[in-house]
Amino acid sequence: MIEQPLADKLEDCLAWMQASGGTPEQAAGRYPEQAEALLPLLRAARQTAEEAQAAPSAEFRAAARARMMNLIAASEKAAQPRPVTKSRTPRPVKQTQPCTRSNSMTWIVILGILAAALAGGGGAAYASADALPGDALYPVKTGLQDLELAFSGDETDIELLLGNMDGNLSELAQLAGMGRYEDMEAGLEEYQTNLMRLEQTRTRINYEDAGAEDALQTRIQSQLMTHAALLEQLKLQTKDQIKLQEKLQQAIQLTETGKTYGPNEGGQPEEPGQPNGAGPGEPQGTQTGTGKPEDAGPGDAGGSGNVNGPGGNPDAGSGSGAGGQGEPTCTCMEPDLFCVESEVQDAEGKALPEAVCTCQETGELCTIEQGQQNDGSGGNGPGGNP
């Protein structure tokens, strides 16, 4: 690369300025032959750094530490473990009631979480919006979602559950990027629990007319198709995680089953297990759902598969995917954004052989629109894993 020698010298000068506090002129003087090219860039760098030295307000600074300590205390208080059933031994399905919403234990859990969230001054509830499976605040997040479901009707439940499932996939992608594979298993259980609830709810609705039923089922199918594609991407991304692969495959199968169910395609979905007692070959459920209520809404699939990737490799080109007949086509969920191929790294930072298709601006995983074969795995999120 022709620019590399000059780029290296520029960095050397910048590092020298940073360490010594020297001027751009002095720094450029270290390379007299390139000084003419380097000096304006060094001046631009110095000017940028000097003009933008934003600092938090004095009020914020003064109380920052104390407020952080309060936040920590609130989050720990709110994160008292909620009862999560994780049965290791599959139990036969015995579906006696369609949903646990009226179950008194659920209400106790919900009220407990609500009380804990309120005790935290609402801050914990706010802070939990970004929590991931395995985080201390995650139970608050799922508890609030349960609460929302408990107070809504069946048709709204569908929207909430689809939103929660979008959120689950987004969380899974973030966890994959961080290499938090064990937490991904818990995240998958939440996803499957929401999927089961969705199936239960969609069979329970009394539709006003066939048109309304068709419209809703078509929308569910479309969203589940996106979910299956995102799960496939996650499977590719975590292909060295054998245990996780099995669980992802199970989730894909369940999602595929759900997406083929509909008024035009006939066939009932497989009987979903009770949230707390999945049958053989069926997922283990947990009491509560998960996801991001704020993402819920008709047609909002944008939350799926966000990986916060590295913003795309500028050398990898741009455009909306591979295109071509029979080739998988990557498309960003949000309009006017382009997909780019980015390098994928494992948790240790080693490059994996396959690239990933992510939206250039957001780092979100792109959707594979055509072709069943994915050309990319889940995104490489520069997440919390050191």
Partner: protein, 189 residues
Amino acid sequence: MNSTPGPPTDQDLIHQASRRDRDAFGDLYERYLEAVYRYCCHRLRSAQEAEDLTEQIFLKVWEYLTGSRQARPVEHFRAWLFRIARNAVIDHTRKQQPEAYDPATLAAVLPGAGSAEDEAQCRNSLQRLHAALDQLDETGREIITLRFLAGLRHQEVARILGLQEGHVRVLQYRALKQLRMILEEADHD
């Protein structure tokens, strides 16, 4: 002769914080508060949102350090911290409508902003810089922000973005070159 011990290193504080030592975490927080805030501020272009998000970022750091899932020690703390910050900014901008850009509010948090005249000058400089940054591609903008506004080393930027160090140097060179041209053009207009 007694030698006075220096301030604790990041690793010391991380180690203590991972044992739920809130004081140590408080020290770590104060050490990096400003850099993280500055990064958020320039990415979100909102002083208030930057303050809120900075707190959330450090709360995540605490959760990680004290959580059971911490499999490996944090070796490159600054890079790791800013990876979390970058993710948080991306998540935040994805979920929330950005506030209307108000350079006046933002200029008020610049140290040069004392008198009304100074503040006006800061506001203009900041507006000019942000307009120039907006014309860079996403990676270039991120590199400039992390390198010169947050004050990270290029090796750390490479870690955060998951790129090779040599690649970051070239991208930095290109971004600076473009930024300089844009700023020059703005000066001429």
